[in-house]
């Protein structure tokens, strides 16, 4: 970060995170929020800022696989941990089952809430591969969508669960589109 004053520079801490599998680090002031670290320092702008008051879930990221609000975490607080953002969902050009679900079921309109919704859905299916509609609605209850009315978001997550279940039944080599793969 550009220095604001020597005094503030003196407060800076080395923050080092694994973001979507890659080691990323920077020296930042302790007051820097995780969402600003991700958007400004790492230039990963798929993580959105909606309310900035811990209420909407647009800023959701996974911290060691668990969904949290990155506007309500300090970057220093999660130094050393693994962060997943929406940019980490696709494997190269191949969409993840969750992304395919949102695509197929029309799970978004403006798309502002979508990164958070897809990350919450991804985390849900990790520990509950076959959730009920009620469990899906519970999981996304901290994420607000102003457009869809939630019906298609629920369907999208169910669709993703079905794709994953299919993949377990008939394991086949990962279809990785040209130029894809991580």
């Amino acid at each position: 970060m550009n220095s604001v004053s020597p005094n503030l520079d003196a407060l800076a801490r080395h923050v080092s995170l694994k973001v979507n599998g890659a080691e990323r680090s920077a020296d930042v002031e302790p007051r820097v929020l995780l969402v600003d670290f991700i958007r400004t320092n790492l230039r990963l702008t798929g993580t959105h800022i909606g309310c900035d008051t811990s209420s909407c879930g647009a800023c959701t990221v996974l911290v060691d696989g668990t969904p949290m609000k990155s506007c309500t975490l300090l970057a220093v607080q999660v130094s050393g941990r693994s962060i997943s953002t929406v940019e980490g969902l696709a494997a190269g050009a191949a969409m993840s089952p969750m992304q395919t679900g949102f695509h197929e079921e029309h799970g978004l309109q403006c798309g502002f809430c979508t990164p958070g919704m897809m990350l919450v859905g991804t985390a849900l299916l990790e520990h509950n591969p076959n959730p009920t509609e009620e469990q899906i609605r519970w999981a996304i209850s901290g994420n607000i969508c102003r457009c869809t009315g939630y019906m298609n978001i629920v369907k999208a997550i169910q669709h993703a669960a079905a794709i994953k279940a299919e993949a377990v039944k008939a394991p086949k080599p990962e279809a990785v589109a040209a130029g894809g793969g991580q």
Binding site: R31, T53, Q77
Partner: protein, 289 residues
């Protein structure tokens, strides 16, 4: 929004944490999950010179049974209480209340200890701990002391903790034939309670040996409805006894009108929830649920 500048320490042991607080407690803020503190820092309602992040301290998270009580580590996340299946029979009010707190994302990071130390009059854990007659264990450089839940909450966002102290655990007595219930009215997920009521009963045969009742969002702190509690001791849980306790608890509430409802409305919800909570708690304590 971002906070005013502060210095940051993340001690790796409790001894180091209390040493930092001994030296700089007056100008410092402890941070557990940050789910209440970070919003306050962002709004600049709180501008500490130093944030002491205890989030990485070992052995302070988790719920365990020990010598007739439950030990809830201060860093236990709300979600750990919510998803603990043993607690559903051992102390059902805990997972029931956890389920109502904030939303799943905040429950993944916010802690039980942080919640009681924040002492929001609209917070849920305070009422639960008052109903359970829990003890709060605080550590400082000079040693450990235990504070009764009833003495812990001193006013809005004010507790009996000193600036050099860290809350380390909450001890909940576990009596046989006891159970509780938490009822909460909220406008939507993530909203604080319009009104919520925590009820815990211990049965002795067909009589109530002891009752605990805590009220959320109807006072300048979480309130303990003492007259209502006393009225139940030694009584059979008849409709009349329950109605009388509910009336006393409603009288003890100090609700204020706001966007969530009028004072009369909130007082009446207290009455209804005490009644409902007592019936559920008695049924659970008798093994009905």
């Amino acid at each position: 929004m971002f906070p005013a500048a502060f210095d940051y320490r993340a001690p790796s042991s409790l001894a180091e944490a209390v040493d930092i607080l001994r030296q700089r407690g007056e100008e410092a803020k402890v941070m557990a999950g940050g789910q209440s503190l970070i919003p306050l820092l962002k709004l600049r309602f709180s501008q500490p010179a130093l944030v002491v992040d205890i989030g990485r301290l070992p052995n302070l998270a988790g719920v365990e049974r020990k010598d007739g009580h439950l030990r809830v580590g201060a860093l236990t996340r709300h979600v750990q209480v919510e998803s603990n299946t043993d607690l559903r029979t051992l102390c059902p009010i805990l997972p029931e209340a956890a389920h109502w707190i904030a939303d799943p994302l905040i429950r993944n990071q916010g802690t039980v200890g942080g919640s009681v130390c924040h002492a929001d009059p609209q917070g849920d854990w305070g009422s639960v701990m008052l109903a359970l007659d829990a003890d709060f264990v605080a550590r400082s450089e000079s040693g450990e002391r235990t504070i009764k839940a009833a003495d812990f909450f001193q006013g809005p966002f004010t507790t009996a903790l000193r600036p050099d102290e860290v809350l380390t655990e909450i001890r909940i007595p576990l009596a046989a034939h006891s159970a509780g219930a938490y009822n909460k009215l909220e406008r939507k997920v993530g909203d604080f309670a319009t009104v919520a009521v925590a009820v815990q009963v211990e049965m002795n045969g067909d009589k109530i040996a002891k009752a605990g009742i805590g009220l959320t969002s109807v006072g300048d702190r979480n309130l303990k409805a003492r007259d209502a509690e006393k009225s139940l001791a030694g009584k059979q849980p008849t409709d009349e006894a329950i109605a009388e306790a509910a009336r006393l608890a409603a009288a003890a509430a100090e609700p204020k009108a706001d966007v969530r409802g009028s004072a009369e409305f909130k007082r009446d919800i207290v009455r209804v929830f005490v009644q409902r909570g007592l019936k559920t708690a008695v049924a659970r304590a008798r093994g009905g649920q």
